[in-house]
Amino acid sequence: MQLLKRKSIIFAVLILVPIVIFFVSLGIGRYTIPLDRSCKILFSQIFDIQQTWEDVEKTVIINLRLPRILLALLIGAGLSVSGASFQGMFRNPLVSPHILGVSSGAGFGGVIAMILFKNSSLVFISAFCFGLLSILIAFFFSKTKRKITTLSLVLSGVIVSAFFTSLISLVKFVADPVDELPSIVFWLMGSFSGASYEKVKLIAIPMIGCITILFLLRWRINILSLGEDDVKALGLNPNTLRWLVILPVTVIVSLSVSVSGMIGWVGLAIPHICRMIVGNDHRILIPCSISVGAVYMMLMDDLARSLTAAEIPLGVLTALIGIIIFGFLLKRTRGGGLFES
């Protein structure tokens, strides 16, 4: 009974905090709008509320802030849960969702489309397709004697990642330094500044779908993290199970690179931070990663767009602040690693 109560409290917190941060984020920005007014503007979209605000304020809240916050929420949750799943599956705390080269592949797909087509929807499609292509290449390299080990998978991921990273450098090299290079560099740096409802619509369903799959697999990830023998002992096929984890992660990473460039450190640091809070049990670690990832990304984007008049690159903030929190927690919990017990 005590345990059940504790569990329901944790779940309530994990659901409530992102909602609170969502509304707080709506009230944060360079254009000062009080929190109550920004909430009213939001609810006026659904309910009939008498207009007490200026039209500009509505534009800021509905057209600029809301899609950005939604995008940050989805991608933060996605990258973080991907990281947690991968760390469990690979039984390695140093793994991030970028380990299999998906983000480099998607990054290359994006920059090549920027040079060839200069059309934002084609950039999205190309980035997404190259993300999927890179996992196929990794699969091809790792497959030996009809068997795939985690080691060969990680190694082929390193190959794919290095391959596409050098292709990105090649594209940067041939790009026109005045016309094309700045937009490529800016896109790769990672930012939600291009957020729009079109992008939210494009990614929302697959993103939520993949996050749900990982959430449903949380118990099986626990078994995967124990090792191959235990999986077999329970009558499950480790290969099938692995691909059940890898595919949704691939989709999540490809989608996030497609709409917001490469945002580092979220998928590595947030699962660790969660592990220090709730422990190693993936049944609680996975939902915790979803919630904390979303909160973290929303807060970082709030800082990126409101701290100074100039926009601060998001990747800089996610890495810098993530590392500080991570280091602090590491010190306090005396390095609560993945397989300490």
Binding site: T59, L64, P177, D179, S193, K199, A310
Partner: protein, 344 residues
């Protein structure tokens, strides 16, 4: 009498020996020894060909340039004015400034102009190649004048360089006299977007901030420094009266007034409501950064920001400038091209 002739001829020989080579101090502060009669020049800094053109409109001495200079040249009226320049080689360098030295040597340059403020990595290999290297930096009116002087010495056309510098200085003091009278309240709030919808803008300590102040405008981005990316929300907060779209992108004012950019909303901005979004003109080089045509940029800005103070027709002024400094008669199509009245 015989002695006198000997002295004269000796000194002539002496002088010709000295003057068969010349020394130019570059922007690294380095004394660069060059041969007297420079015939083959290679440039890496993007605006260099256009500035060389100001000193020597024939353009026949420029044998190599950066590919980005070439694409700027081909997009401007310069391709017609200096057809020889358009034949220069660009194969020795790609998007960065790291030169393939052997490819460069094939061009047999007498001198190479390279950036000196973008790291030693790009200039040292050139120094080692044995070709005289003039290091350059860019960004202020002072740098611009230094460039013109250096190019003047390089091509033995010091007078031409001084003529342009004098023209610039006269215009600056004229403008200062005019704009000092304008009260702060009458200065329109302007926003400059060099890369259009990427939302880069230029704050204090930039050349752009300098000329916006010079022409009686209030640059909204003065609160930040250098080139920075800002958010759409920040622009709504600034709410500029006038927007200038730069020449580093192909985006046009219509794209802003029609609100075509995903994730951005320009409809509430005063400049868009009042149809005051302008594309920066493109002369022999982009008018955004410093060049010999900068005074024309200032006059263009004044005619938009304070039409009551601009008692001239900017197109006539431009034609006169081209006649006076390049000895070139612009036709109506070329003028329309400079002021980018139509989409390419």
């Amino acid at each position: 009498m015989k002695k006198f002739f000997i002295v004269i001829s000796m000194s002539l020989i002496f002088f010709s020996m000295v003057f068969s080579s010349k020394t130019i101090v570059d922007q690294r502060g380095k004394e660069v020894v060059l041969k007297d009669n420079i015939q083959r020049i290679v440039t890496l800094p993007m605006p260099a060909p256009a500035l060389l053109f100001a000193i020597d409109p024939s353009g026949d001495k420029l044998v190599g340039m950066h590919p980005a200079s070439m694409s700027a040249l081909k997009a401007s009226v310069l391709k017609k004015m200096a057809p020889l320049m358009a034949q220069a080689d660009t194969s020795f360098v790609k998007s960065g400034f790291e030169v393939n030295v052997e490819e460069l040597l094939k061009l047999k340059p007498d001198v190479v102009l390279q950036w000196c403020d973008k790291g030693d990595k790009i200039i040292e290999p050139l120094d080692r190649s044995g070709i005289p290297v003039i290091g350059l930096k860019y960004g202020t009116q002072e740098d611009l004048e230094t460039w013109l002087r250096i190019f003047g010495e390089l091509l033995d056309k010091q007078q031409g360089a001084e003529k342009i510098i004098k023209f610039h200085r006269e215009r600056i003091s004229e403008f200062e006299k005019i704009t000092v009278e304008i009260s702060e309240n009458d200065k329109p709030k302007i926003l400059y977007l060099p890369y259009g919808s990427q939302l880069y803008t230029t704050g204090k300590d930039t050349y752009n901030d300098f000329y916006f102040a010079l022409t009686g405008a209030d640059n909204v981005a003065s609160e930040i420094s250098g080139w920075k990316i800002v958010t759409m929300e920040q622009i709504m907060l600034w709410n500029p009266d006038i927007i200038y779209v730069g020449n580093f992108v192909t985006e046009m004012p219509d794209d802003f007034t029609n609100n075509t950019f995903e994730g951005q909303d320009w409809s509430a901005i005063k400049a868009v409501k009042n149809n005051a979004v302008y594309k920066v003109p493109l002369g022999v080089y982009r008018w955004d950064p410093p060049s010999q045509e900068s005074p024309l940029m200032w006059q263009w800005l004044l005619s938009i920001q304070h039409p009551e103070l601009a008692d001239y027709d900017i197109k006539t002024v431009t034609s006169e400038f081209y006649k006076a400094f390049y000895n070139y008669d612009l036709n109506d199509d070329e003028i329309a091209e400079i002021f980018q009245e139509t989409r390419e």
